[in-house]
Symmetry: D3
Subunit: 228 residues, 6 copies
């Protein structure tokens, strides 16, 4: 029985803003290296960087009916996450659906399948991360589910989880952890900033991270090429 | 015995122009979802959009001799379609062949294999859709065939068929159907344009496509998250 | 026992400059079609073109400790080549390491694995060719080797070999052959330039390469379409 | 901080036995088409069919230390599920670990990575489903986690969930649903058995499933080839 | 509008028998290296070898309704060829459909998608060549077409064409050419048989094919290792 | 200029026999985890296990002429290693060439490309490790090289190097290191044998490898599920 879950909880906008500012690599580290989607999901244009609460949508292979249902559940600032129940590269999404989402203020689409009309999507600056670009459209015969838990590109997504997406890929932060991970990402970014200045000044990671002693203990030896 | 078929029939230029204007996704739908090449064929630069009659060229793996033969059969407005007889990612095509085709007014290349010199091709704005970018060049030992039926990335191409290619991929329209498909694409685009305005105004696909009743018949239920 | 080879020999800068000027496709041909890395290595931005002596770095899967060690061995003009001991798409390299390399004048990175922070790398214009873009970072538990022979994307690289990399991919020229290959590439480019002018003037490859007689000997026949 | 969860709950053995009897395809259907791992996981020998409670093990890329920890948590009848934190095809598991598991009565291994010694594993009849066969061994530097939730080949696995695995692949049934799914699988298998007899007698699916009317309503037409 | 073409023409049984006897590699050569399906199609058990007229079936992604329709069009000796309209690895086919086909004397299945129940199919000795083994079943919402031209794994198949399939893969011989290709395959196999005896006696291909002179003309040189 | 290197040096037969006895996984470890070919090379039948000196053969894509040349350089006990200059899955090798090699006592074939006639090869028990099974044959237009250094599936092979191949894949041992690696493999196998007995007796790797203290130092904690 197809289900649409409505009135979902959403994370604190301040936490979402912080996560968006830091981007995927930092957020993924700050979260203890969890929640990363597979490297096969790529953005259709670059540079690009967004974050927002997930509206999830589970679709059958080759059928995008449920996406129309999901649009109605989207609010300004949300990110739509679409995942087919079995691997499929059909073009589930094109410029009409993007127009509809953009009219509601939706920030972007994550889809573990194909998209089309990417020239128009790029010109509209509507961000999309997808498995494939493929012009084959979908039918509308079988409804899917909206705002249920979905598996997307190797990650679990629940409605309201924060999706962070940029040129490096896509990461999911559980709703309940959004503020905590945002705080950790702030701290991490600050210490990275300090290190960046030292790197710019020509200091080496060997010294910044105090590695020389540990490497010697591991038995690392230096030999001149002419002595090899 | 290698064969070159000359003096091929070409489609009505007005139909070609209409197909080019509508692009791959619309043409593919208008044609009843036929003729799409595989998603693995990607353009070397974007945005890009062309259409034109196919000159076909079948080559052995690693041997591009037949492409030189095919060039002579190309006229202004044509699109060259090259397919190896077995999968091969060698760089069959580079800036010299592109210079030769551009001098004849050829609009682009579709190749189910590799290309090289893509920095130069991009600067020349010579459109190419390929399976791979790979610098390994070809030999010229074994002639192939020109203007025979070829299989290219999962689609059948006959000489004179219209190739439509853009950021979404590549679609083939049989010569005999070019005018009919162009007319259907015109109609489809017009009705899409009307719908786009409605989407921009914030109407939902659920209402535009009159889906609510059908979804209810399929048993779709709405539940508040707190009631799940 | 992890090893760092220091004070490596480097090629003549004039040869490196010539190889950089000609690019991957020409250098690969000039070298007798040897030394090409696999087509799966792609640049993170385009257009891009570099050449320089290789500093090699062999890393365990998921561990980038040795890259910090390798940085110290890099001089201005070098290219860092990183290869994991087994296939791995983790993000071994990001903007901090790039800042460190750029501070030393390193020209770019070739990595048979994943990278991250590609928006920052692109903005810094630090060239990278990689197998994947993936935000998952590495640990620093197990040292690797620096300036030993490595296998990278199907090519053998020794420290000091010239890496030539551009939009078409990556090619390796052994240190001892750099000058000879550079000279051959010069000659090849000169003759290509002459041919380019002929192609621009509308001459055909069939005539420029004197192919018609040979094709006839191979049995190639021309048939009008209406006579098929 | 690496964690080992001990004294996990396990499902009712009768439910496990029923799930094993029905196999992956039937269990997956009975469970509402949930819980299937990706098609890339294949058994090292066939035919093979097992089911049992999952002991889960999360390992870093290229490091199998945690598997030794996990072995101690395994009881007779369990199935060990190993998943690396990023994609890795190293051979995490060979005949010594299999000997250890077999000595404890463990029924098999599901691993989203590589295995080795498959000739010995096959001779021992120790069932393994893996992504790859690859002889490269692992290091033991970084501990992982045992009996935490893991993602394995696109499915979520919690300790104690029932793993059902056979020639068709691998399916996960949550511990809390084991008995319910087993009952549904029983019912499904019974009705399939009735249909099998009808199919053996030459009846058609068109009649067994009463499809002719519905197909006619969908507009299906029959045309003799000579009338096309 | 979904279509079923009935009363198709079938090839001469003697030609089919000859093609089956010679197998894929010989038939493919005898046919001028045409008609081979992609290497990604593999048999579910080996050794296996069949040939027969194709009944074709085009299905939507994830929907196997049309296969039930196709079964009724199959006669003893036929081979069912199923191809989805876009790439899909769902398990379209299992032991019930195989029971139905086997009851009608159908010789096997070629499917450019997934299958399931392969332990049962193997025990029944019902031959299947597929892209994937995957337990996820299909829905029955959208009818496809039966006995229309289909593209399957890179080859064109028309109803009544001869499918030849064995351990090496799958090849298609057009109905109109079946007798001619069978005759060529007979001749080819006879001359191969003569050569096999010479190879068994220790003669070299260099002499059997009279290659030494041609290799010398190509400039091949022999050098002792100690003189390199 | 195509080259055939003759009269190559071969390793000590006793070392080859020892390497064959221990198999790929043990030899790879004994050699310091070097020389492994990619996991994509798979044997056409199992179980299988061979070792022998390499005769190397470099071929153009789609052209197997050089294999006939290489056969003449093969002696009893050798292993033929064939690698195309660019990726190619054509069937370079079938039952006639296998008959020729078997008549000379050659132990098997390693090929970074496709093979065909695998039913016959399996019945002859002629071992082959290949990238693909594909019936498309080759032409004989361009000679390759025999007994030069080749790159094969990510490994460097020189003529006379020992090829060790079994169900787990393929490993290369340099000629000069054959005896040393064989001795290390003997030692490794002996200590493995002792451990196997302990594992059979139910001892845990945690104790056999004395891991408990080290894991505690890494901070590993044990928690009962009910206390999580």
């Amino acid at each position: 029985m197809p289900v649409v879950v409505t009135d979902i909880a959403r994370p604190d906008p301040a936490a979402v803003a912080a996560l968006e500012r830091h981007g995927v690599a930092t957020v993924h580290e700050a979260q203890g290296r969890l929640g990363l989607m597979a490297a096969s999901l790529r953005p259709i244009f670059r540079p690009v960087s967004i974050a927002g609460p997930a509206i999830t949508c589970e679709v059958p292979p080759g059928d995008n009916w449920a996406i129309h249902v999901a649009v109605e559940q989207c609010q300004a600032g949300d990110v739509l996450v679409v995942s087919p129940t079995s691997p499929c590269e059909d073009g589930y999404f094109g410029d009409l659906l993007a127009t509809s989402l953009q009219a509601r203020g939706v920030k972007g689409l994550i889809i573990n399948a194909g998209v089309r009309d990417i020239a128009a999507l790029t010109e509209m600056r509507f961000p999309v991360w997808s498995e494939a670009v493929y012009a084959r459209g979908c039918i509308r015969e079988t409804p899917g589910n909206v705002n249920v838990q979905v598996m997307c590109a190797g990650a679990v997504v629940n409605p309201g989880d924060v999706i962070v997406a940029d040129d490096d890929g896509v990461c999911v932060v559980p709703l309940a952890k959004a503020a905590e991970v945002a705080a950790k990402a702030d701290a991490r970014a600050a210490s990275e900033e300090l290190r960046r200045v030292r790197f710019q000044n020509g200091e080496l990671g060997l010294d910044i991270y105090d590695m020389r002693q540990k490497l010697a203990e591991k038995g690392m030896v230096y030999i001149r090429q002419k002595d090899v």
